[in-house]
């Protein structure tokens, strides 16, 4: 038996029925040719479907589903412990899901983790820096992992500009303030020109000036066609940055839509108020 799959995407009816059998090899064919993956060329950057993550008896993420389109800034918002970081860690290949499906540009999070790491860039909430390396050296080390030397130098120059650190870029990172460390990390994330930037609380703990600087960089990146998923418990920030948001509470997505649509639906003046209303209801 020969099987030729032209549409292997998640949205394809065939795939919905047989994808698991194909993945686990129980579909008996003599030859299987996958000619095209729908998501590669589609507008969907990330697909999360019925995602569950348990740590022992504790369920951090409980059956959430959402999709992110290319060029979109998608926000996960909610209080601490809502499951935002766990979701981002799963998308960034750091944690395996307990069940459910996650695809990044058509690549399965478990099977194609290596491929995914090549096209994403992740900023952890408490991402640290190397104490004895300068900001410029750090950017150069990361750039050389992604690019050849000529491209790497160009990327580093651009990243230095993103960071706005001026001459301080040559100082050891142990001398940087928290805001400066965050700026160098954002520069590192965007320098690699990821197809998907995953930002966990990008402005947490920063003063107004540093936070605004970082928001502007993210905004500019998205305007140039970059796809971003970020988490925050600063709902005003999310409202400013994101084209769509998902409100998370205790591992569930309680509502997801455009910020304005959510506010209209819940008759709230801002997302914070909307969140309180939806959780209370």
């Amino acid at each position: 038996m020969f099987l030729i799959l032209k549409d292997y995407g998640l949205n394809a009816p065939f795939n919905k029925k047989y994808s698991n059998k194909l993945l686990y090899g129980s579909f008996k064919t003599d030859f299987c040719l996958v000619t095209e993956r729908m998501e590669e060329g589609s507008e969907t950057a990330v697909v999360v479907k019925n995602l569950v993550k348990r740590f022992g008896a504790f369920t951090a993420v409980d059956g959430i589903s959402f999709e992110i389109n290319k060029g979109e800034v998608f926000g996960l918002i909610g209080p601490n412990g809502a499951g935002k970081t766990t979701t981002l860690r799963i998308i960034s290949t750091l944690l395996p899901p307990t069940s459910g499906e996650v695809r990044v540009f058509g690549n399965d999070i478990l099977r194609d983790a290596d491929k995914i790491r090549r096209i994403i860039s992740y900023l952890a909430e408490e991402a640290g820096t190397y104490r004895n390396i300068s900001g410029k050296e750090y950017l150069s080390i990361i750039a050389r992992i992604y690019f050849d030397s000529e491209e790497a130098s160009k990327a580093v120059e651009e990243a230095i500009e993103f960071s706005g650190l001026g001459d301080r870029i040559n100082d050891k990172m142990k001398t940087y303030s928290k805001g400066m460390k965050r700026r160098i990390q954002i520069a590192r994330v965007l320098m690699t020109k990821p197809k998907l930037a995953i930002l966990d609380e990008p402005t947490a703990g920063l003063d107004v000036f540093h936070a605004q600087y970082i928001r502007n960089i993210i905004k500019k990146y998205a305007e140039n066609g970059g796809t971003v998923i970020l988490s925050s418990h600063n709902m005003l920030e999310v409202e400013y940055l994101c084209s769509r948001v998902a409100l998370m509470h205790q591992g569930h997505i309680v509502i997801q839509d455009k910020p304005q649509a959510i506010k209209n639906r819940l008759n709230a003046s801002n997302l914070e108020e909307a969140f309180v209303k939806v959780v209370a209801s």
Binding site: R117, S121, Y122, Y130
Partner: protein
Amino acid sequence: MRKIIPLIEKEVKDLLRDPRIYIGLIIPVIMLPLLGSIMSTAVSTSIQTSMVVLKIAVIDADKTRLSKEFLNLLKNTDMSVYEIDGTDLNSAINWMRELGLEFLIVVEKGFEEDLNNFRVANIRVYAIIYSVGLGSIGKYNAFQTQLQNYIKIFSDMLIYRLNPNVNAETIRKPLNFTFHSILKNNVVKINPQTFLSQFLMGYSIIVPMILFILSISVVQMAATATAVENEEKTLETLLTLPVSRYEILVAKLLGSSIISVIGGVLFTMGFLIYFESMLKMPGMDISTSFYQVLPPIHLESFLLLGISIMLSIFFITSLGVVIGALSSDVRMANSLLGFVIIPIMVPFFLILYGDPKVMPLAIKLVIYAFPTSYPTLIAREMIINPIPVEAIFGIPYSIVITTVILYVTSLIMSPEKLLTLQHKLRARTVGKEKRQ
């Protein structure tokens, strides 16, 4: 490989610029030669000073012609001799303390009579210990040598009295043994006892000692460098880069090993300078010509020693990386290090104080299980025997075991597994602390 190089660069720069590391590297090069030179100078100065002004008190309880001759003999040396009247020991010692005299020689009554009847004459010697420095040891050694000279002079005298035509040396030492040691297939004119003691002081202690100190610093450095990634929250970023876990660990291994080799070279330099200064100290005259008469060591042996040292460093570093990876912070890594340092020590001491060839199979297996044993084994055997075949097999074995350790660590190096393992280890450590 292209992706590993920037990671190795990161490791080397981050480690080399860390004051805790570079100060640790520099200290042996400065401190050991300084220590050696201070000790050597202190001892030499102390001995020279005390030999010039060595003051001896003498009580002559015999007061005969021969006892007077003995006293004259003492007076004709470089020492200042003070004769004490009376025979009360306590008052003599008090008097000596007032004058700062260090030695008291008491010629007992019957001295001449014993000698004339060819019996052993008794002389009591008292030394007041004013200090316990190394200089004192040299001084007392020098004084002992002087006393041996007096014995020789008196025996010459007695033999001459018996028969003026006889060579006193022949009577004293009628048999002359010339010792030879057979090393490999070479006959070397060295007393085996001298060889063994000097060999022990040289190769078989220096090499293991350097390796031992190096191993401890390497394992600590690798563990700290890896644990810091957890502590400073840089590991998460590292694990999302397009490099495999195995490459991350290999970069850590190579980065830490480069620093270790630099550290090893600096430590060896410092230690050799220190050792050389120690050899120059009076009473510690291990001649360098000792090594010149030894059979030549083939280049292949040195090469094998070098390779086994490198593999030993890689092995130790891989253990440090594992410990660091399993630790949530540097403190936890340091407490886990004890589990690694102990197994490193066991084969070191087994080889140092025993002969693996005659050990039971179980102990031999323990020794051969650790790649750290092979350099010690090679260093020990390369002079006296052909390199043992086990040591040669140890080379591929060391490579395999190090690779396996890194590979297994790369398999468990996912945040979820690490968090679980770290949690379990922390719980165990906290439980242990509570029980204590």
